[in-house]
């Protein structure tokens, strides 16, 4: 038997201290977000702040229990835990209750539990277990498929619950797989594809293809040490850019003919006889053609494949919504959302470049929420408006202030000092976890550590990104801070299992 002192002596306090800070920051900001003068005690358990304190105390109890349990338990029971969670995820589809359109809650009396939150650490354990087995190599196609299945199963089940936000979290595992040997190109292509997708929606396919060709020629020129081609390319494109900007040309025929010419030029350059390693260049041509198809398919994807609310989220993110609302006001459409005829909708659509959108979504106001969120954070200034003095927060201009938009309260009342501090704490925590993961002797612990860091990072990325207008509105909580028992406990379990694994890294050889 090890003593308590022994347990606590070996845990990594550089992880636990930021955790405690974040939990405390969350609690007092929930108090500020839903502050109610009639219930001014922060311990009042009829209010969210009182409840959150209860969740925190319970979370600390859970954390302590996790530290007490032998780390062997987690490695041995990784797969059974994963199995139980999958069953729970199926169960919630059958017996769960629906909240905000997502059937992801079990209801026991007044107590609600969200199994998808717990699926995160279960999947992490299962993935760690699988990847730490002998004879596993990420280069094997079988390994890739199995890893994809382990990650994909809960993701699909959660998607069936209609909880897109929580599903997207599973994309975070790409970092884990990358660390374990997945080709870096996949990560790169992923990032590039998202970048091109967004840029295409903003600037239109032709501009992006032109830019892509430009980049291609310049890179080609640089790689071949052909200064002349690089120079000509820069000259031609800056000239074109000037002409287009100066005369505000939007003539499609002109666009397409130029694209055609340049396209032929690229193909010619790439297939010249003098070129030595031809096969690489054929590959280059193929990639280029595919890129063009991809770019042109984005419009199609956006308009035909995505659902209306998904389109609207992207529209909002791209800042097109204000334009839309102006258009609607300009048309003096004062009828209800459904009262707008197809023709009128088409007119507005033409004006914003043919993108489809959902007026209902617009009116329900994702854009409005983002705007208010930015106003809240922006109006905090350098030092903030002071605790409990945030007007955006106090007068309910920001939606979901204690859960998904809790960062607004922090930004408004504590200013840049507060948000800077918070971002630093998070990044420090993530880097510390990565550091701890790298020092593990077992693959299991390392994979699990990467999973913890990646999942927390993904939440951080999407949640804060959303409130400051850098990411689409996806309702996922800010780890350790947002109100809610399920998410706090799930993040606590996720983190403390790793702390436990880390504390015993020297004892076991896995």
């Amino acid at each position: 038997m090890r003593s308590y002192k022994n347990i606590l002596g070996k845990v990594d306090w550089l992880v636990i201290v930021p955790y405690l800070i974040l939990v405390f920051v969350g609690w007092i900001n929930i108090y500020a977000a839903v502050y109610n003068e009639e219930h001014h005690s922060i311990f009042d358990i009829t209010q969210r702040y009182g409840k959150q304190l209860m969740w925190i105390v319970l979370a600390l109890v859970i954390a302590f229990i996790i530290l007490l349990v032998d780390s062997q338990f987690y490695t041995s029971f990784a797969i059974p835990i994963y199995g139980v969670v999958l069953i729970a995820l199926i169960g919630v589809l059958l017996f769960g209750v629906e909240t905000n359109g997502a059937r992801s809650w079990f209801k026991l009396g007044s107590f609600k539990l969200q199994p998808s939150e717990f699926a995160k650490f279960a999947t992490s354990l299962a993935l760690a277990k699988y990847l730490s087995a002998l004879n596993i190599n990420m280069k094997d196609i079988k390994t890739k498929v199995m890893a994809a299945v382990i990650i994909g199963l809960p993701a699909v089940l959660i998607l069936l619950q209609n909880d897109t936000g929580s599903t997207l979290v599973y994309a975070a595992f790409i970092f884990v797989l990358y660390r374990e040997g997945l080709s870096g190109n996949i990560l790169l292509f992923g990032i590039l594809a998202i970048l091109v997708f967004v840029l295409t929606l903003i600037f239109g396919p032709v501009t992006i293809i032109l830019t892509a060709i430009f980049a291609y020629i310049v890179i080609y020129g640089l790689m071949k040490y052909d200064v002349k081609i690089t120079f000509i390319a820069v000259l031609v494109f800056s000239g074109l850019a000037y002409v287009f900007l100066h005369f505000e040309l939007t003539l499609n025929v002109l666009y397409y003919s130029i694209v055609g010419c340049l396209f032929s030029l690229v193909v010619y350059l790439l297939t010249r006889k003098e070129m030595r390693d031809k096969s690489i260049h054929y590959l280059g041509v193929a990639i280029f053609v595919l890129t063009c198809f991809y770019i042109f398919s984005i419009d199609f994807t956006f308009n035909k494949v995505l659902k209306e609310h998904q389109r609207t989220r992207i529209t909002v993110l791209l800042g097109e919504e204000d334009k839309l609302i102006e258009q609607i006001e300009a048309l003096k459409i004062e009828r209800d959302v459904d009262g707008i005829s197809k023709e009128e909708k088409q007119i507005i659509r033409d004006d914003i470049g043919g993108k489809r959108f959902s007026l209902r979504e617009l009116r329900q106001g994702n854009g409005w929420n983002i705007k208010q969120s930015l106003i809240a954070i922006g109006s905090g200034g350098f030092t903030g408006k002071g605790f409990l003095d945030g007007t955006q927060t106090k007068f309910n201009f920001v939606p979901e202030q204690s859960t998904d938009f809790i960062f607004c309260t922090i930004g408004e009342e504590w200013g840049f000092l507060g948000t800077f501090f918070l971002v630093c704490i998070y990044i420090a925590l993530f880097l510390r976890i990565l550091f701890l993961a790298e020092r593990q002797r077992s693959i299991f612990s390392r994979v699990y550590g990467y999973a913890v860091a990646s999942i927390l990072f993904f939440h951080f990325l999407i949640n804060i990104g959303m409130t400051i207008g850098l990411a689409p509105v996806i309702g996922i909580p800010l780890p350790f801070i947002s109100y809610g028992g399920s998410s706090l406990w799930s993040f606590t379990i996720l983190l403390f299992i790793f702390i436990k694994l880390d504390s015993e890294r020297l004892l076991v050889l896995r």
């Binding site: 970092f175 990358y178 660390r179 374990e180 040997g181 870096g184 003096k332 004062e334 208010q372 930015l374 106003i375 809240a376 954070i377 922006g378 109006s379 905090g380 200034g381 350098f382 007007t391 955006q392 106090k394 007068f395 309910n396 201009f397 930004g411 408004e412 200013g415 840049f416 948000t419 800077f420 971002v423 630093c424 998070y426 990044i427 993530f430 880097l431 990565l434 993961a437 790298e438 990467y450 860091a453 990646s454 990072f457 951080f460 990325l461 804060i464 990104g465 400051i468 850098l470």
Partner: protein, 610 residues
């Protein structure tokens, strides 16, 4: 494959995202100021504090205009929830169609900005509606004030207020759409002092536009400054009496205190109740009043240009005496060949000519004024003569705009050389062309205010103060300089006294034309009748007078359209007015005279000349 490098790549991605967030946050929170103002814009509502408009009193501190609370029902369409339309219609006492029409109109104006739904709810319905209003989110009551006129008179002088129009808003930045502004009368002239200064209260509101208290405890609020109280020179009792006497007549009475130029009464008949042009009723009443063929909105005292008729003889006499073309004892035969006259003995003096109002006498006087033999050509001679004459006449305030403090005043016409050169051509007119000017007919036109001013000038023995209606402003000691400036007519006292003797004779001596102007023995009245020929119908009855003869307290002009002889109608009206003012009552022996006036009706006799 070396995978240990990859830990750095993942770490770097985390770091880069953290850095991007910090840069973005620095941008949004520190560099960009717009969010700060947008946040204020969200929660701060500026609530305008409308000042009470200044009250108006008469010279004896009788209240003429005050403010009464009015309640407007406002609507904010965005906040309107499902409602029991019929119950609300019942409460507001309107039809369902009207309700829907107003609702659609409000929604068209803006979903997010409040607009007036129902104007001026009575205070009784207000109490009833207020109790029920919590059932109807999106509706609320806005309090304003309305002008009230307890005396129901002096409408033309007091004027009215109405919502500002766009052109005023563009010119004067103080005003905003929906503000009220003086449109006529004293409300117009003294707009800037009467209106006060608007205040602003800043309140905090939440996302549902509910008030949450004042901003910074009201530190940045500005108080509304109440409009200044205006005291007018009017004697409201006299004004009301004048309006009473002028019932069923068209015309005007203007009474002035000669020693100060203060207007005591300024009656234009027919008139209207000033309360008709207040608030919601304007929409209905204004078109009715403006379509009325008797033209009650037209302020005859300032805007009606009349031929002065025989009262002008007093002017001709003074000008003739001053020019030296006649003396006090000049006599001319009453030669009816030249111009018609009534039966009276030939006047042997200026005083007698005034008393008997002899037409041929003034043809002679005017002939001497025009043909002063300063040129050989009679045309040239007439030009010189008329030039001198017109200059002198304008000193009386005729043919010039009296710079009083009421708007839309006319200048009248004093024909001069240019006038006739334009009319007939230079060198194509002479005395014989224009001689009817001698008896106040022809091209000369004056407004009743100028007639009263003439009377006041004679009473003052040769000067006048511009007639005005401001007696004082609360907290201000003096009235404007322009009303304290003496205007001299440059006529010697002896000449004026000669005319005054004649005016005394008009009332008291045998052969005088206005015995009906007598009040009683102790008050000496001086007057001059006029019967202005009217080609459109019955002659206009004109009378100017002042009393007492020495140290006069009141000067008056009465002009009654289509009434006939000046002595028969205008003179007794003037007499009653002066009696009322000087003795605060009408003596028993004059009640008969009063009844005769009250019973008279000249409305059907002709068309007013504008």
């Amino acid at each position: 494959m070396n995978l240990t490098n990859r830990k750095f790549i993942v770490g770097i991605i985390f770091l880069v995202v953290g850095l991007i967030f910090i840069i973005r946050l620095f941008n949004v929170q520190v560099l960009d100021d717009k969010y700060k103002s947008e946040s204020d814009h969200n929660v701060l509502r500026e609530v305008t504090q409308y000042p009470a408009r200044g009250l108006i009193y008469d010279r004896n501190d009788e209240l003429l205009v005050y403010n009464e609370a009015a309640y407007d029902l406002m609507i904010l369409p965005k906040q309107v929830k499902e409602l029991d339309t019929l119950a609300l219609c019942d409460l507001l006492e309107i039809e369902k169609e009207e309700f829907l029409e107003k609702f659609i109109k409000a929604k068209k104006y803006s979903r997010y900005k409040p607009s007036k739904f129902l104007k001026e709810i009575s205070s009784i319905s207000y109490a009833k509606i207020q109790e029920q209003l919590y059932n109807y989110p999106g509706f609320f009551v806005d309090t304003r004030t309305l002008r009230k006129y307890p005396r129901n008179s002096a409408a033309h002088i007091l004027g009215y207020i109405g919502e500002v129009n766009q052109s005023v808003i563009e010119k004067k930045p103080y005003y905003r759409s929906g503000d009220y502004i003086g449109k006529s009368g004293l409300e117009y002239s003294y707009e800037e002092v009467l209106r006060g200064i608007r205040g602003v209260k800043r309140v905090l509101v939440d996302v549902h536009n509910r008030e949450k208290g004042s901003y910074k405890d009201g530190a940045r609020d500005t108080m509304a400054v109440t409009g200044t109280i205006l005291r007018t020179t009017l004697d409201i009792i006299l004004q009301e009496y004048g309006e009473l006497l002028m019932q069923n007549k068209k015309g005007s009475i203007v009474a002035i205190e000669p020693s100060t130029g203060e207007v005591l009464a300024l009656v234009s008949a027919p008139n209207y109740d000033p309360n008709m042009l207040v608030g919601r009723a304007v929409g209905k009443n204004y078109p009715t009043l403006s379509r009325d063929t008797l033209n009650p909105l037209f302020n005859r005292a300032l805007m009606a240009k009349y031929p002065p008729g025989s009262i002008f003889k007093t002017v001709q006499a003074m000008v003739g005496l001053q020019a030296g073309v006649i003396n006090a004892n000049s006599g001319f035969a009453c030669n009816k060949a030249m111009v018609g006259c009534h039966n009276h003995p030939s006047a042997g003096s200026v005083a007698a000519s005034v008393k008997m109002s002899c037409n041929p006498y003034y043809y002679h006087v005017f002939k001497r004024l025009i043909q002063q033999k300063k040129a050989t050509s009679i045309y040239k001679d007439s030009e010189i003569g008329l030039g001198i004459w017109a200059t002198q006449i304008k000193k009386f305030g005729f043919g010039t705009r009296l710079e009083t403090d009421l708007p839309s005043i006319k200048r009248g016409v004093v024909p001069d050389v240019d006038f006739y050169n334009l009319w007939y051509g230079a060198g194509r007119w002479a005395y014989s062309t224009i001689r009817s000017l001698g008896i106040g007919q022809g091209e000369v036109e004056v407004i009743p205010l100028q007639m009263a001013n003439l009377s006041a000038t004679i009473a003052n023995r040769g000067y006048y103060y511009t007639p005005h209606l401001i007696k004082g402003l609360e907290g201000v000691d003096t009235i404007p300089q322009k009303f304290r400036k003496k205007h001299s007519i440059d006529i010697d006292d002896e000449h004026i006294n000669t005319v005054i003797d004649g005016m005394y004779g008009v009332v008291y001596e045998p052969g005088g034309t206005a015995r009906r102007a007598r009040i009683h023995e102790s008050i000496a009245v001086c007057g001059k009748t006029g019967t202005a020929q009217n080609p459109h119908g019955q002659d206009h009855s004109v009378f100017i007078a002042f009393a007492p003869k020495d140290n006069p307290k009141i000067a008056i002009a009465v002009y009654v359209e289509n009434a006939g002889g000046g002595g028969s109608w205008a003179a007794p009206i003037a007499s009653l007015m002066m009696e009322q003012y000087l003795t605060d009552s009408i003596s028993i022996k004059n009640l008969k005279k009063e009844k005769r006036i009250l019973d008279a009706n000249f409305l059907e006799r002709g068309i007013a000349k504008k």
